[in-house]
Each structure stands twice: as C-alpha cells, then as structure tokens.
C-alpha cells in the first residue's frame, strides 16, 4: 500500500514534481485549488472485505465491471479525434494527427470511425472492436468540475458527483456495492492499486492489492503460516479477527495460485502496470471467485509537454491501453460477454496546443465502453464543435454529456444496481442507449 507516487503532476510553479521532465507550462492558475480529498482512504473497507472471507463453493458467473482510470487527464481530442473539424488542425498545428486517407490502417494517420471521428493509430488493435460493434465511444463527456485540479476532478468523478462542490459519503462504486448487498466473497471488489481508489472508499467489500502475486507472506515455509494460525487462533479482539481473515485470504489466493497463472496464448499482455493488472483481473474472472468490480489505473497522462502526435510517450500510453484491453479480451474469450470495461479520465485537455508542444488541463474528455451488451460502433456525442465561441473556460471542449449518465446506464443494465439515485444522488438520468436493454 503505497501512496500514488508514480504520478506526475504540475506543482503550480511551472515545474513537474519529477526532476527530469521540464515543463514550459507557466500557468499557476489552478495550483491553489487542488483537492483535499485526494488519495482516499485505502485501508477503508479492506478489513470488512476480509471479514467476509470464506472459501467459496458456490460460484456465480455474474457480470463484472472493469473501471480503467487514466490518471492525469487524457488528451481526448487525440484519442478519438474529430478530424471533420478544420479548426482541430488550426488549434493544433504540431500535435494534430492526419486525416484517414483509406480504410486501410496507417500508423501515421487516424483510423476512421464514422466519417467525422478517427481513432488514434496507436490504438489500432481496438479498431475491429469498434467496427464490429463491441466498442462504443462517448465524447465531450465529463464532470462539471471547474477547478482543473487533478485531485479535485478525480475525486469528483470517483465519488460520483456533478462537480467539486458536491458532498457525499464514499465512492460511487462503494455505494453500488453497499446497495446491492453482500455476497460473502472477499474478492468482490478489487482495486489493482497501491491505494484504495476513492470510487471504492466506504464499502464493506473492497480490497486494494498492488499485485495479487504480491499479496503473500514473505516467508513461505509452512511453519510460519501454521505458527501464525496458532497465535491468531486465540481471542477475539479486532486485530485477532482481522488476522484470521487475512490468513484465509492468503490461503484462498494460495489455492488459486495467481503466480502460476497462464493466460491464453493469444493474450499478449504488455509488461506494464496496466497490462499486469488486466492479466490478474482475467485470472480472477476465470477463477470465478465472485468478482463484481475491478478498478485499474493507468498513470502518466498529464501531457503538458512534448506529447507528440503519432509517436512519443503519449502514443506509448495509448498503445499500452489498447494492447492491454485486447490481450484481456483474447484471454477471456466468451467470458468477455459478462464483462463491461469502461475507460475514463478526470478531464480532457485544452483544445489548443501550448507553447511546450503539449496541452494543458481542459474539460470535456472521452470514454470508451467495451464488452458484452454494448451498442458499439457508435461515437456517442452531443458534439459542441471546436469554434472558439463554443469552447468553455480557458478554451476547453465543453462537457455536453454527464459522465454519470454513462456509468449509471452500465450500473443499471449490467450490474443490476437497485437505484441510480443511491449511487448518483441528484442525477436526472437520461440513458444514451449504449447498453442493450
């Protein structure tokens, strides 16, 4: 359980908090408003998750929700690009990606989606998913956060709020889990993260694990385990109870042996944080341990400088995302029918590129939804246009679709959430129709 220390943030002084990258971003405007609620309470809930630990005999085959959070603010306009807008090319003279020329894939050009939007060529592995109707894109989507702060905007989304002024207890996924009642499995909700994400804070059924393979005793001899059992067999205070439960989860993971897991040969997981997390998620789904919700993080999307267009580090992140998802799908095969993957980020980025060949924090972003029951092959967008007059705030893509409408539809149609009101208080839910009824 570590703090999220591999993230890169601007520190408000025009310098990133990691030493080597120099940014040319000099705007300090939003440094003062970063959130206090950042990070969340990673220990919360883990205890109660353990409290439910039992070796399951009844397997569930239930639906699974995979949340992928791109931390740092992914540049949506270069993920799914509105190449039909001439102004896109004016705003981004050096970062714009060339229009698609032919139906044939070209690593230097966008891959056409619908005649107006094109997919970043780094994500070509997902192109068939869209074209064959298994992936949907939602664009100009986001929260109404006005702070442009990573912490605040992430917190707003993970807590399921409209904007930063809302108050609610715990994360939206936690509320969903609480509302749908306990199933008695300790691995009902797993965050592959060093810390419990805000979306899962405040539930009795979540566990934050960096890597399943790491959730183990350093000393592996049988004596140590049995001696611990002997010591924790006595008494009934909270630590003793937690100790017994920890030993049960260890035994369970030991039985399933995550380290010995062999994915399908066609599943080529990238050797990255995200790739590993997807691999372990696939393992848990195949083991059918009763997993319902899984939170994965991809970090490093804060592209203030030299983000590149069809090459560079943003391209690598996009390829990592697409290839991880592709490998996961190949690995799961038909089991993918009970899985919904939702990719989101705390905000999109400024429409115009900045002087550092990057982009600053913006507003509207895009989301990707894949999996069983998705009405794919469509870019869902109430597109506002990229005309300067239409942009919001300091030149952002306006948010015309509430991210909560996307999540609420998934929760209702795929996760059987009892009530949208409960998980997104105050939301007047209007479904986009992106999931089959």
């Amino acid at each position: 359980m570590a703090i999220k220390d591999n993230w890169t943030y601007c520190d408000g002084d025009g310098r990133l908090d990691q030493p080597k990258r120099q940014t040319m971003n000099r705007r300090q405007l939003f440094a003062g408003v970063a959130s206090l609620v950042a990070g969340g309470v990673w220990w919360a809930g883990a205890k109660s998750a353990l409290a439910q630990a039992t070796l399951r005999s009844d397997r569930r085959n239930g639906n699974v929700f995979i949340s992928v959070f791109l931390r740092g603010g992914a540049d949506a306009l270069n993920v799914v690009t509105p190449y039909g807008e001439d102004s896109y090319y004016k705003f981004r003279p050096s970062l714009a990606i060339a229009k698609p020329k032919a139906a044939k894939a070209d690593p230097e050009k966008l891959a056409d989606l619908d005649g107006f939007f094109g997919l970043n060529p780094a994500m070509l592995s997902l192109l068939p998913e869209f074209r064959e109707g298994r992936m949907a894109v939602i664009h100009a989507v986001g929260s109404h956060d006005s702070t442009h702060s990573h912490f605040q905007a992430m917190s707003t989304m993970e807590l399921g709020l409209k904007n930063e002024t809302g108050r609610v207890s715990g994360g939206w996924l936690a509320r969903h889990l609480n509302a749908s009642g306990s199933t008695g499995t300790p691995l009902r909700a797993v965050a592959f993260s060093s810390t419990m994400p805000d979306s899962l804070s405040g539930t009795t059924g979540a566990l934050a694990i960096s890597e399943l393979a790491d959730y183990r005793l350093q000393r592996e001899d049988a004596d140590w385990m049995s001696d611990l059992r002997a010591l924790y067999a006595r008494g009934n205070d909270e630590m003793v109870a937690a100790g017994r439960e920890t030993l049960e989860v260890l035994a369970m993971l030991n039985e399933f042996d995550p380290r010995g897991y062999k994915p399908e040969p066609s599943a080529k997981y990238p050797d990255s944080q995200l790739g590993k997390a997807f691999r372990e998620a696939a393992f848990l789904i195949k083991q059918d341990v009763g997993l319902e919700v899984c939170c994965l993080d991809s970090t490093g999307w804060d592209s203030h400088v030299t983000q590149g267009s069809t090459s560079g580090w943003l391209t690598e992140l996009l390829a990592d995302l697409a290839n991880s998802i592709k490998a996961f799908q190949n690995d799961l095969g038909n089991e993918m029918n009970r899985v919904t993957i939702c990719v989101q980020s705390e905000f999109g980025r400024r429409v115009a590129e900045n002087s550092g060949l990057g982009t600053d924090h913006g507003a509207g972003g895009c989301m990707l939804v894949l999996g069983g029951g998705v009405n794919g092959g469509i870019v869902y967008a109430d597109w506002p246009g990229l005309i300067p007059d239409k942009l919001s705030g300091p030149g952002d893509l306006p948010v015309t679709t509430d991210y909560r409408d996307v999540l609420a539809e998934i929760a209702l149609k795929r996760l059987g959430t009892p009530s949208v009101k409960e998980i997104f208080p105050g939301l007047k839910h209007s479904p986009l129709g992106l999931i089959q009824a």
Partner: protein, 477 residues
C-alpha cells in the same frame, strides 16, 4: 561534515529518489551496535515501566528501560516534560547527514520532492527509535497528525522540514496558542490548504475551515458557515515569499491581497483597517476558546488513554482553559489517569515498526527498506492526503497485518538492508523463552502475554522473535 549546498547537490544528483550520504550510516550502525548491552531479566515493576514506555514513548529499549528503572516512572515522566537538545551521538550523526536539517526551502528545491519526503520520513523514524526524549517524539506524532500536511500538495514538501522544527517540535510541549499561531504562519500549511493566493476578491475558505474544524474549535465547536467566510477574509494576504533573490518559502503578509474591511468572527468585531493582525486576532480568539479546550482535550485523552472517561476529559479541558493551553500541565493529568486506568490502544504502523526496532535494540539507518515497510503497512509519513491526519481507530488498521507479519519475519532474520540486530547477544542473559521476553520486556507470566507464551510453538531464537512481533499481543500498546 557539513556539505555546502553545491557539494551536496553534486552528490545527490546521481540519486534518484532516496537520500544522499547514506554511505555514512553503516559507520553509525557499527558504532551503535558496539554500545548495545544484553537484556537483563524483567522484574515485577517492569510491567508498569513497559506500559509507560509504550504509551508515552515508542516502547521499551534496553537503555530506556534502564533509565526508567533507575528514575521510577514519576521522575521519568517529569524529566520527559522538559526535553533539552541532547541526543545520542550516533543519532546526531545520522540526522546531520540529512539535507532537510540544514537547508532552507529555497535550497531544497534542488532536490526531487521524493527525496525530501524520504528524508522527512527517515528523520521521524530515527528520532522515534533513538531519542531519549520519548515523550517529545510521542507528542510530535500526535501534533504532526493534528496539523497534518499532505506533502505532495504543491511545494509544501519543501516547507515541511521547517514546519516540523518550528511549528511542531518547538511547541509539542509548549503552549497551544503559540503552536497554533506558528502553524497559521507555516508556509507548508498555507500551501497545503490553498491559503497563499487567497485575496480580498476571492477569499479561499479552505484554511479558514480547517483552522476552525480541525485545528481548534472542532466540528461541533459552535461556529457557522458565516464565521468560516469571515475568517477566510481575515486571512487574505497570508502568503509566502516568492520574490527573486528573496528568502523564498518564508511567511509573507501581502497587504495588497488583504481584505481590510470590518469582519465579525464568533461574535467579535474585527475593525476595518487591519492587516496581518486580523488573522492573528482570529488565532488568538480560537486558541483560547472553550470549544478548543474541549476539542483538544478529547483528542489528547483519546490518543493517550484509548477510551477516556467524561471526567478526565473535563478535568483536562478546564486545565487547558486555566493554563491557556499549557501542554505539560495537561499531560500531567493524563499521566495520572493512565496510572489508574489502562485501556489498550492499537499500535499504528509507526508505533509497531519503531517499537519492534527499539525492543530489538536494532542498529538501523531507517533507510528505504524501513520506510517502504511502513508504507506497505499503510502509514507513509507526511503523505496522508486529508487534513485530519492518520486515523487512530483500530478498524482503520486491521488490514495492515500482512505487511506487519512480513516486517516481523524480515527484521528478525536481518533481511532489511541497513538494519541489523544481534539476537544472540541481546538475549544472552535471559534464561528461557528469550524471543518473547526480548520483544515484550516483561515476564512470561505477566497477564498480558501469559496466553501467548503458552501458545507460541518451540522455535529457533529468530523465529521466536518474528512470532513475538507478529503476535496479536504486540499490535497493542
């Protein structure tokens, strides 16, 4: 061996995230190991000695146990209320290695933030393990959580070493109103709570709210949203120096940002035309407020007594008011109460880790393996993201057991680089069940570990030690 900034920077340049100059630590470790003595068998009085060291310090070490045996608990506590600058040589040597202890915030900017935070964590662990002023370290733990600062917010990490010295440690056994004023002018705090750009046109309520809610009156302390907004106006212009060739990072009142119109805080009128004194007036009002007395007393009593009676909370609160927040006077009452009623309190990861190292008389540099163990247990110091500090309730820490067990097996088998124990020497004068006695420092027939002693399987010495540290009993203090 004080380095100039430039020399130190050159050395640190090659170091990615850790501290520089750790090369000197093996020397300190060896010097320390030479001075360590075998444990003498526990006496009947050690039950109380150990309980006091666990509650008012970070647990018994051979040396601290010898001192408290010699002085008796009352005399020991009285001395602890008046700490001075003296520290063991090897500790001074280790602390001198850390740039955070001799560079200001403007020079520290040459280092990555990670390195600053690493040194802050290292220094806290080292002092908790080795300082003879155990009560001071205990109080520092309490107050740094009371005035918590998430050090990855903006540039606050670079201001935090100064905050640790001048706000926390300078006042941990001083007067509460002075500590509150120092905290209000701490640029680490001002950055953390978004105060530094707050101005008359757009007063930021963040610091104002936490000052009332967390630092002083308490959430039920009787203030309103209107008070928060008025307090925010009083603090407009409380900022930090960022000027070229100026002492960057120092507190700076900026009159140009200040709202100098009249305000009303908790019923008191703060007249128009004021400057920095408006905020000072607010601190002065809330620092001595009865709600603050109640809030601070409840927190201190809970921290030290676990489940304090209403009676002791009230006695502490009235002492707070009578002495204008004199912390030693309060602590005397709490100490007396502790001697008559003892409820067990869960060890937070820092308590657990430091008490293990102390019990083992470990020679440690508190370097990366130790810091990372603490992080794995869920308590990366200075990185609690919310202003309320690491939680004190037991439920918050039950998921940290796996990491505690892993630490237990590693420290017992000398598996942590930079940390060594000599279990054989340590236990050479103990007759039986040496591992258990080394860790708990009380007789195996003492009620608190009797059941553990009979449940522990017969194992090698290092395994006995690992099991004692991993045991349920050692998770409480």
């Amino acid at each position: 061996m004080k380095l100039t900034r430039r020399e130190a920077f050159a050395l640190a340049a090659g170091v990615a995230t850790a501290t520089s100059l750790t090369g000197c630590n093996p020397l300190a470790n060896r010097a320390y190991a030479l001075t360590s003595e075998p444990i003498t068998p526990p006496t009947a009085e050690d039950d109380l000695h150990v309980a006091v060291l666990n509650r008012f310090g970070f647990g018994p070490s051979t040396h601290s146990l010898a001192v408290i045996r010699d002085q008796g608990v009352d005399e020991w506590f009285k001395n602890q209320l008046q700490p001075n600058e003296s520290e063991p040589d090897h500790l001074k040597f280790r602390l001198e290695r850390l740039e955070i202890n001799h560079l200001g915030p403007w020079d520290l900017r040459d280092w990555p933030m990670e390195a600053i935070i690493a040194q802050l964590q290292q220094a806290t662990i080292l002092k908790a393990v080795y300082s003879d002023w155990q009560l001071r370290e205990r109080m520092a733990d309490f107050w740094s959580n009371h005035f918590n600062i998430f050090s990855k917010k903006g540039l606050s990490a670079y201001r935090r070493p100064h905050d640790d010295r001048e706000v926390i440690r300078k006042h941990v056994l001083g007067k509460f109103p002075e500590m509150l004023m120092a905290s209000a002018k701490s640029t680490a705090m001002l950055i953390y709570l978004d105060q530094q750009n707050s101005n008359a046109a757009h007063p930021n309520e963040n610091y104002a709210r936490e000052l009332l809610e967390l630092h002083s009156l308490g959430v039920d302390g009787g203030y309103t949203q209107a008070d928060v907004m008025e307090v925010a106006r009083c603090f407009t212009g409380w900022s930090e120096e960022r000027g070229f060739l100026k002492k960057k990072g120092a507190f700076l009142f900026r009159a140009d940002l200040h709202d100098s119109k009249e305000k009303k805080v908790l019923g008191e009128v703060i007249p128009a035309g004021g400057g920095v004194e408006d905020g000072e007036r607010v601190v002065s009002i809330v620092a001595r407020h009865p709600s603050t007395a109640k809030h601070i007393s409840r927190k201190l009593c809970t921290y030290f007594l676990g489940n304090p009676t209403q009676g002791v909370q009230e006695r502490v609160a009235s002492e707070f008011l009578a002495t204008e927040g004199d912390i030693p006077s309060i602590m005397k009452i709490i100490f007396e109460e502790f001697k008559s009623t003892r409820t067990k309190v869960v060890k937070r990861p820092l308590d657990f880790l430091v008490s293990s190292l102390r019990a083992l008389d470990a020679a440690t540099d508190a370097g990366d393996p130790v810091r990372k163990s603490l992080e794995a247990m869920g308590q990366p110091l200075n990185l609690w993201p919310m202003p309320d500090g690491f939680p004190v309730d037991t439920a918050a820490w039950t998921s940290s057991l796996l990491a505690r067990w892993n630490f237990a097996s590693e420290v017992a088998s000398n598996g942590l680089k930079g940390t060594t124990i000599d279990a054989k020497k340590l236990t050479s004068e103990l007759p039986s069940d040496q591992g258990l006695q080394a860790i708990f420092r009380i007789s195996n027939s003492a009620p608190s570990i009797q059941s553990l002693a009979s449940a522990t399987p017969k194992r090698e010495l290092t395994d006995q030690i690992a099991l004692a540290i991993a045991s349920p009993e050692f998770q409480w203090r």
